[in-house]
């Protein structure tokens, strides 16, 4: 044990949050959640049922920011339907999130659920090519 509260994944995601920002596409699906002293905003553009672009904004501790970036890294380019497989427990293990921060990571889970609903609403109802 080296006393470092952050593992390599957290450090990398926090230092290089390549998915920070907003999807500029005006048809982007957007979800926002605020709880536990944490704020997360996700935006996604979907093309032919695949997530073309996925971006986040987050206010919270390093684990929250890293979790949002790790989520975007994993799901960008994948079928939107795969968002249903998002596994908070696995993400917490990958990022070695302390158990007392579980509530904060659940805010991300809530935001992802909200994003899925927004994608469904925006793209399925419109029908896309």
């Amino acid at each position: 044990m080296n006393g470092d509260p952050y593992n390599a994944v957290v450090r990398d995601c926090f230092a290089r949050p390549g998915h920070a920002g907003d999807v500029s596409d005006e048809d982007a699906a957007v979800a926002f959640f605020e709880d536990q002293g944490v704020r997360i905003r996700l935006s996604a553009a979907v093309l032919r049922e695949n997530i073309k672009a996925l971006r986040f904004r987050a206010w919270g501790c390093p684990h929250v920011i890293a979790a949002a970036e790790a989520f975007c890294r994993h799901f960008e380019g994948r079928p939107a339907a795969e968002l249903a497989t998002f596994d908070t427990g696995r993400l917490m293990r990958d990022l070695a999130v302390p158990v007392e921060k579980t509530g904060r990571i659940l805010v991300l889970e809530d935001t992802v659920r909200s994003l899925r609903a927004a994608i469904e609403d925006r793209y399925t109802s419109q029908g896309q090519d």
Binding site: Y6, F14, A20, E34, R39, R41, R57, G60, P62, E100
Partner: protein, 387 residues
């Protein structure tokens, strides 16, 4: 230790590096006088002479008699011995004690423990800059008040209390005054020969001495009950074989501090001005504690819109503290800053820069850049609040 190979050290209020001359003195003592100073033989007497020399060096720094000092393991033990020891000894006269809301945990937790033992504690609030107005103290003193404990230099904000005035108020009411001087001794002039102080706690590692050794000053006629039993050392106040090498190191550190305290203060004041100048234009930044008049080795700043833990990580490789360094892994907002009227968020985002002898102007420039970049990055990451 201003800058390591991979970090910039601005956490001198947490601890200071060992001065090379102190390390050399300790090595010499370990090799030549590492015996039991209580032993009545040639080797023991040699160690006793080392302890006497260290006591003389520390006494000179504080302008007191060497015999008024008791060696301890550090300020935490000194605080415990002073506060518990005085409160228990005088309990038959009354059980009212007075301290401040902005004290270090090493004092706060002692008073909390005494509250559980039936003592009544008045927790005095500071003014918005962190000072204790003497009128507030005078109003709190009662006929059954036995002890007041006030920190000399606040470890989070650098506020220097007016010990002369506060001590005079205590003397007027014949109440003992204990001062936690962990952040003051060896850093600012402390003349216990003149200050109306009965008990004064200090530790070596805050002024470039070794960790694990400290001292408690007791003014003439002041008595406390011992916390430990097991020998006749140090008039039975603090039994146990003395750590001769650590004590020698503390004495050497005190001697060095006595020689260069004025130069240190000038150096720190210059750097603090530079740091404040570089940070003060950042939107929303506030100084916790007084802008002027504080101990110049500490500058505590905060923002109302930044998450503290992320700020600390974004500042790497800068070594600074959020809240109290001794408690820096806690997510709790600093009680000191809350007492100054800061919100939880403002307190949690506070960063304490603490500067030292080896800090350079280049270190400060780098710290300013890192802080600006970190704030810019975290603000850019944050989403707007929901309408």
């Amino acid at each position: 230790m201003a800058t390591g190979e991979d970090f910039i050290y601005l956490d001198y209020a947490a601890t200071t590096p060992l001065h090379p001359a102190v390390a050399e003195r300790m090595r010499t003592v370990q090799n030549t006088a590492g015996f039991n100073p209580a032993s009545n033989h040639v080797a023991g007497r040699r160690s006793a002479a080392v302890v006497e020399q260290a006591a003389a060096q520390l006494a000179a720094l504080l302008n007191v008699a060497p015999a008024s000092l008791v060696w301890t393991s550090g300020a935490t033990e000194s605080n415990n011995l002073a506060i518990q020891g005085a409160a228990r000894l005088r309990a038959h006269r009354g059980k009212h004690l007075v301290t401040m809301q902005t004290e270090h945990k090493a004092v706060v937790d002692v008073f909390r423990a005494l509250e559980k033992q039936g003592f009544e504690v008045s927790w005095l609030a500071p003014d918005p800059d962190g000072y204790l107005p003497v009128e507030s103290l005078a109003r709190a003193l009662r006929d059954d008040t036995q002890l007041v404990s006030i920190m000399h230099v606040n470890n989070e904000t650098g506020v220097i209390q007016d010990i002369a005035a506060l001590g005079a108020a205590c003397r007027e009411r014949k109440v003992l005054l204990h001062v936690d001087g962990a952040q003051a001794a060896g850093k600012i002039p402390v003349d216990l020969g003149r200050l109306p102080v009965d008990l004064y706690s200090l530790t070596a590692h805050k002024f470039y001495g070794p960790k694990g050794v400290g001292a408690l000053f007791l003014s003439q006629g002041t008595a406390v009950e011992p916390l430990m039993f097991g020998g006749a050392q140090q008039q039975r106040l603090r039994p146990g074989t003395l750590a001769v090498d650590l004590i020698a190191g503390m004495g050497e550190a005190a001697a060095i501090a006595a020689r260069r305290i004025d130069a240190d203060l000038v150096h720190l004041a210059t750097l603090r001005r530079q740091l404040l100048q570089g940070l003060r234009h950042i939107e929303g930044l506030h100084v916790n504690g007084p802008v002027d008049g504080a101990y110049p080795g500490i500058l505590n700043v905060g923002l109302g819109d930044i998450e503290g833990e992320s700020l600390l990580l974004a500042l790497e490789p800068l070594c600074v503290a959020t809240g109290s360094a001794c408690n820096s892994r806690s997510q709790e907002p600093s009680a000191v800053l809350r007492a100054l009227g800061r919100t939880d968020l403002e307190a949690q985002s506070a960063i304490r820069f603490s500067l030292g002898r080896a800090t350079t102007s280049a270190d400060i420039d780098r710290a300013i850049c890192l802080y600006q970049d970190a704030v810019r990055k975290l603000r850019a990451l944050a989403p707007e609040r929901a309408a």
